[in-house]
């Protein structure tokens, strides 16, 4: 059952205005109106968020770690693509001292909820370190959830039943996100992290002190949510394990993608269509063992017309992917960047309804909604091009 586990503190419908306790105005994100949040009874039935947004990403193939200031600069150029109701960053390679631990970034609506979640974590994980995520005061962000990060590893005995470690971690994330009111795990990978919230790109970057992190893959997103006011958890990137997704567009197939994922035990509780992308990648790549190219073929499949024109083996392979993964097909306008521990992938929809531009400069690859966002941090790229519809740009780190 869907419960509203978010509450007023996470949302900032009017920047700088603290929502009233027990407010039941027209704003809320209750999945059903009997939800348990403080905004219950708001009568606003949330289905999924629609993101008209800007995104940008970069990767240093030779794993040179770059300060977050670059991606912030790139993202801020596209300020007008968002509306100040959400921005976020994901970075890989930022926790080299804890690279063997899952880095959980957790938002708490209220300090008291922290203990419930920590009880769960302590009884299942070895906890190497707990700390509040460092933030700086930003005038435009007067309120924020409590933000805590944990470097953890599942206890050996918990994996005795033969469950895969990654599955165990996914289950923990699903459990906290769907069952503990007011707690939300927004990052759960190793040596990577997501930082996001309600605010414009610059304010969120300042708030999280993004320029103090150094990573070899960065993605970022500015958000223009149209269905509801932003809430902290609703900002991009969306993550699961080391998958991180930033997305521009709308997943019009969300309804069936969601039901398909539910068949495999995923709980879709984050109130936005982008969530399905993270889980689909986890399912197709990690659990079903597809390589990234095949997974992209499943998610943004070629048209039958083109499949029919393929040669025997390729036709057979792509047909099988479309048949098996019809319910995973992402339909509707989108451009997506997804980062993972080994690289960065950009892809857009089958008829290219959202923009995506890519560029290279030496060992760097950049991808963004607009070329100017790339040129802002890479004025003279070696090559600039617009990827074709449905054809992924797959960039992998050098070993």
């Amino acid at each position: 059952m869907n419960r509203d586990k978010r509450n007023a503190k996470f949302i900032s419908p009017y920047i700088g205005v603290e929502p009233l306790q027990g407010a039941s105005g027209p704003i809320g994100r209750n999945k059903n109106t009997q939800g348990g949040g403080r905004l219950q009874g708001a009568g606003f039935d949330f289905q999924k968020d629609i993101s008209g947004c800007g995104l940008t990403g970069l990767i240093s193939k030779d794993k040179k770690r770059l300060s977050g200031s670059h991606i912030v600069k790139s993202l801020c150029l596209m300020n007008d693509r968002g509306n100040g109701l959400g921005a976020g960053y994901a970075a890989y390679g930022i926790y080299p001292d804890f690279k063997d631990f899952y880095a959980f970034h957790v938002m708490y609506d209220d300090p008291s909820i922290r203990f419930t979640a920590e009880d769960l974590l302590k009884s299942n994980y070895h906890i190497e370190k707990i700390e509040e995520i460092p933030t700086s005061p930003v005038k435009a962000i007067p309120i924020s959830p409590l933000l805590v990060r944990y470097f953890i590893k599942p206890l050996k005995e918990k994996l005795a039943g033969g469950i895969e470690e990654a599955d165990f971690v996914v289950n923990t994330v699903m459990k906290i996100n769907s069952e503990i009111d007011g707690a939300y795990v927004f990052s759960s990978g190793k040596n990577m992290g997501a930082f996001k919230g309600v605010g414009n790109p610059k304010d969120i970057a300042d708030f999280f002190r993004i320029d103090e992190y150094e990573g070899y893959i960065w993605t970022a997103h500015t958000r223009f949510p149209t269905n509801t006011p932003g809430w902290w958890g609703g900002a991009h990137p969306f993550t699961l394990l080391d998958w991180s997704i930033v997305h521009n567009g709308e997943i019009s197939s969300y309804g069936i993608n969601k039901r398909y994922l539910e068949m495999y035990g995923y709980k879709l509780s984050l109130l936005t269509d982008t969530e399905v992308v993270a889980y689909l990648l986890d399912l197709l790549i990690r659990r079903h063992g597809l390589d990234i190219g095949a997974a992209c073929t499943a998610l943004a499949a070629p048209f039958w017309k083109n499949i029919d024109a393929m040669d025997g083996a390729q036709k057979e392979a792509v047909t099988a992917l479309r048949l098996a993964y019809g319910s995973a097909l992402l339909n509707g306008p989108f451009s997506i960047l997804f980062g993972h521990s080994r690289g960065l992938v950009g892809i857009n929809d089958r008829i290219k309804l959202r923009p995506l531009v890519a560029a290279t400069k030496d060992a760097m690859v950049y991808m963004a909604s607009e070329e100017s966002a790339i040129r802002e941090i890479c004025p003279k790229p070696d090559r600039v091009w617009a990827p074709r519809a449905g054809e992924p740009v797959v960039v992998e780190l050098k070993d």
Binding site: L77, D80, N306, M310, E370, V384, A386
Partner: protein
């Protein structure tokens, strides 16, 4: 020459100063250090020549009616949206949805263009818009085309290897994408090279050029070649194909009354 520095200037302020300069009667304006500012030249009238250094943002020259914009670099999406008259010269590449509903004027692009270029271009009375692309084009080139002239040259076709990381269709980077001229019901498209009927919408016919076409094509290409320092003979060396609609009412049998 009147210079405007766009470095770090937001679009509202930048476009206001361009409008001011045009209103003041500046004939030649140079905008330096542009990067990503939207709406440059939107709704602008008169005969000014505006040179842009850098990458202008989306919605360049929407509703523009008269001026000439020279872009020295690449440009982004949604250029010449519902443009009425004037000239746009882009020395680099350009993005998706160019010349949407364009009713007049010329758009010259030296490099490649993205998806849905020349979409729903239309001519009316003496007005007839022209878009000329020097490189390659993506899918839906000339979609819904209702009038005007769309020319695709593929000048750099041989070198147009798919970029690193991209996974091209078999056969490398095509001159033009799929669904070519789908929904076309007016105007003419000239393509320098071969066109596979399978790429085209059901509404168009692919044919050879006659003498009149050659003349019209040359007339259109002369200013284009002048803009980019090309030789007309070189461009004309390779054969062209002509695409025109087979019906101005392609969907006559679609509905039951």
């Amino acid at each position: 020459m009147f210079d405007i520095d766009a470095k770090g200037v937001r679009f509202g302020e930048l476009n206001a100063s361009i409008r001011e300069a045009v209103a003041r009667g500046e004939k030649e304006i140079r905008v330096k250090h542009v990067n990503g500012q939207y709406y440059i030249g939107d709704g602008l009238r008169g005969g000014a020549v505006i040179t842009i250094e850098g990458v202008p943002g989306n919605d360049l020259a929407a509703f523009m009616d008269g001026p000439t914009l020279v872009i020295k670099d690449n440009a982004q999406d949604n250029i010449a949206n519902t443009m009425n008259s004037g000239r746009i010269i882009i020395h680099g590449h350009a993005g998706d949805v160019l010349g949407y509903g364009m009713r007049g004027g010329r758009l010259h692009i030296r490099g490649d263009v993205g998806y849905r270029v020349g979409i729903h271009m239309k001519g009316v009375k003496k007005q007839s818009p022209t878009i000329i692309v020097g490189g390659t084009a993506g899918d839906f080139f000339g979609e819904y085309m209702a009038g005007g002239t769309l020319i695709l040259l593929g000048l750099d076709e041989k070198d147009a290897k798919p970029p690193e990381g991209a996974q091209p269709l078999e056969g490398g980077h095509p001159l033009v994408g799929d669904y070519l001229a789908t929904g076309m019901h007016g105007g003419v498209i000239y393509i320098r090279g071969e066109v596979d009927k399978k790429q085209c919408g059901a509404e168009v016919g692919v044919m050879e050029l006659d003498a009149e076409d050659i003349k019209a094509l040359k007339d259109a290409l002369i200013p284009y070649c002048a803009d980019f320092g090309l030789k007309l003979e070189d461009v004309m060396k390779k054969g062209f194909k002509k695409l025109i609609p087979v019906s101005s009412r392609p969907y006559g049998n679609l509905y039951a009354y």
